[in-house]
Symmetry: C2
Subunit: 357 residues, 2 copies
């Protein structure tokens, strides 16, 4: 899905630094090693995965999370599982692959990158099936390419977004759309890293992001690791900070973007966009083209994952309503930074023009 | 500060039910027994207090919280401490009382009811000083009167507010402004209890209220105890619920209200009001007249308490900005329910008219 783009240039400019820590890796035995993000920032522990069921569990438990990284991890998981069952009959591969990839694609419903990555691996398998090459090799190459591309897309998104970051900006973000959410420097945080790289002093307000605290645990951790001054706030503090004139811009990631520019992202993004609008603060979204779902006309069609009540402690007897995402209408989004360019004032026309579809 | 009002009638109508559990009590020895709200809903434990320092600690630790209840507790704490030191020289009383009441009034800066209750006790002491009556008795009577009045004010607020609750309403609230926050049935939750009492089926969305979870811990607990269907949500879920048309009205309490109707309340109230405005949902505030601070022209003058970063877990190295309150401008408030009447479209004129000042 990557169209004409300038990411190769950005990549050569060194915008993709070494990741610290290793969010995702191949092991020597061809398995996938995932940083368990549920344990951060307290513990740096890893999961080693070579079965599809393990990858589905890791995705559902949010051990690996972030729309782009889920896509990368899914592709790598398929390759690792195919490698493990290599000794089995080649004739069994199509049936196994069909069941495994279908189950994997359904692990979480909202982020489209998961479906996108699985579909891409499927297309590769279909195309290469008659070639006689070993399927596990084909899968690994394609998974690696998805990962590499994601890293390059992050760099390009960062470059595009950094142009909108004023010198000395105070930036608010929500959830984690950084190194821990992608195969590269991140989407929303990629913009911040690229601005820093370009010599701009920035400081960040990271919203806690209830109920699972990806902001206070993950975003704060990786920004601090990169030397960016970061202040954690309860999600509810966004309003008074804006009213006090403390925020220059907002940038968030996305889990799925409809053809008209409506954005599904972590629950709390929509109220943040409403607040930004009420205070005339620019509200930006950063996402690779793999996040766009051109089959959906508007955000109303995006399925929203309801997660377990157990994620939200509450008094006995109370129900818990725990949606993982919400939809921000395009009219509240000033621009979407993608790897193929910036979509100003998102609309169906503007999206199609920049994506070249 | 109670003007011409109809609360006696409401009280006689039985709108003030027995509190369960006992949020605050006198002990047989004249001390104050406080339900420790930091332990709810898991544990029902009590603190016994007969020293001013203990009451200050309990208020600062939020063992006792809620603007009206803090006022009641402060008055009772002064009485209990005066009772304990009764054996000491009467001549020492004025110096002790001055120091103790000044320290107590400064325990928390935002809720004005604390200062109001202490000032009222001070005025009583000044008036009764020449009477020859025992000061501890005078203090206890006045503290009891503040408590009783608060219960009656809650009942009257509830009656006034219930008139605005539609049959079958789905109501959203923030923090806890109920039995656990007042000397009676509550302010915001008093409206809900009164609506229930009036035969209206209501159900409630209680926002978690970060960082200390007064919504998921306290509001959910007391509403469930009263048989009101309650759903807990992360603070960030308010936006999408409103966008989906699920919310009929919002009602919250207040910690201080300026002369023009600007409302200081728990952090997160202001963004909730902005969201309500964006979705054309009525946004109501419920508070006794003791919450109004007519010495402040606007909410900009209300001091906002910054609480410890320790309340908000965050990655090492991140700063934490933890204000306990925010200010909602009067223009976002549809009406304020008080014990002396409802202030529609709050403004300096409307406030003065209803309060009769």
């Amino acid at each position: 899905m990557v169209g004409s783009c300038n990411w190769r240039v950005q990549y050569q400019l060194g915008i993709v630094p070494a990741m610290k820590p290793n969010v995702i890796q191949w092991t020597d035995t061809g398995a996938v090693r995932l940083l368990d993000q549920t344990r951060l920032p307290g513990e740096t522990t890893y999961l080693e995965i070579d079965e599809i069921d393990q990858m589905i569990s890791a995705i559902q438990a949010l051990s690996v999370r972030g729309a782009p990284l889920i896509g990368v991890a899914a592709a790598m998981g398929l390759a690792a599982a195919a490698h493990k069952r290599e000794s089995e009959s080649e004739a069994d591969f199509p049936a196994w692959f069909d069941v495994a990839s279908t189950a994997l694609a359904a692990a979480r419903p909202t982020a489209v990158n998961l479906q996108w990555a699985v579909d891409r691996i499927r297309a590769k398998v279909a195309a290469e099936a008659p070639s006689g090459r070993r399927m596990s090799e084909i899968l690994r190459e394609e998974a690696q390419e998805i990962w590499d591309e994601d890293a390059r897309m992050c760099a390009a998104i960062g470059q595009n977004g950094a142009l909108k970051v004023p010198q000395g900006a105070t930036i608010m973000t929500h959830c984690n759309a950084g190194r821990l959410a992608t195969g590269g420097i991140g989407t929303a945080l990629g913009v911040i890293y690229a601005a820093q790289e370009a010599g701009k002093d920035v400081n960040v307000f990271a919203r806690e992001t209830r109920p699972l605290n990806q902001g206070s645990r993950l975003t704060a951790w990786e920004l601090i690791e990169s030397g960016i001054p970061t202040t954690v706030i309860a999600d509810s503090v966004a309003g008074s900070l804006m009213a006090d004139g403390k925020i220059d811009m907002i940038v968030v990631g996305a889990d799925r973007i409809a053809a008209n520019g409506d954005v599904a992202n972590k629950i709390g993004t929509y109220p943040l966009a409403v607040l930004a609008d009420a205070h005339s603060i620019p509200f930006y979204v950063a996402a690779p083209v793999s996040t766009f779902d051109m089959s959906l006309a508007t955000g109303a069609e995006i399925p929203i994952e309801l997660r377990s009540p157990d994620e939200m402690p509450a008094a006995v007897g109370a129900r818990v309503h725990n949606p993982a995402f919400d939809v921000t209408p395009a009219r509240l989004v000033h621009a979407i930074f993608t790897d193929v360019g910036t979509i100003e004032k998102p609309s169906t026309e503007a999206v199609k023009e920049v994506l070249g579809v």
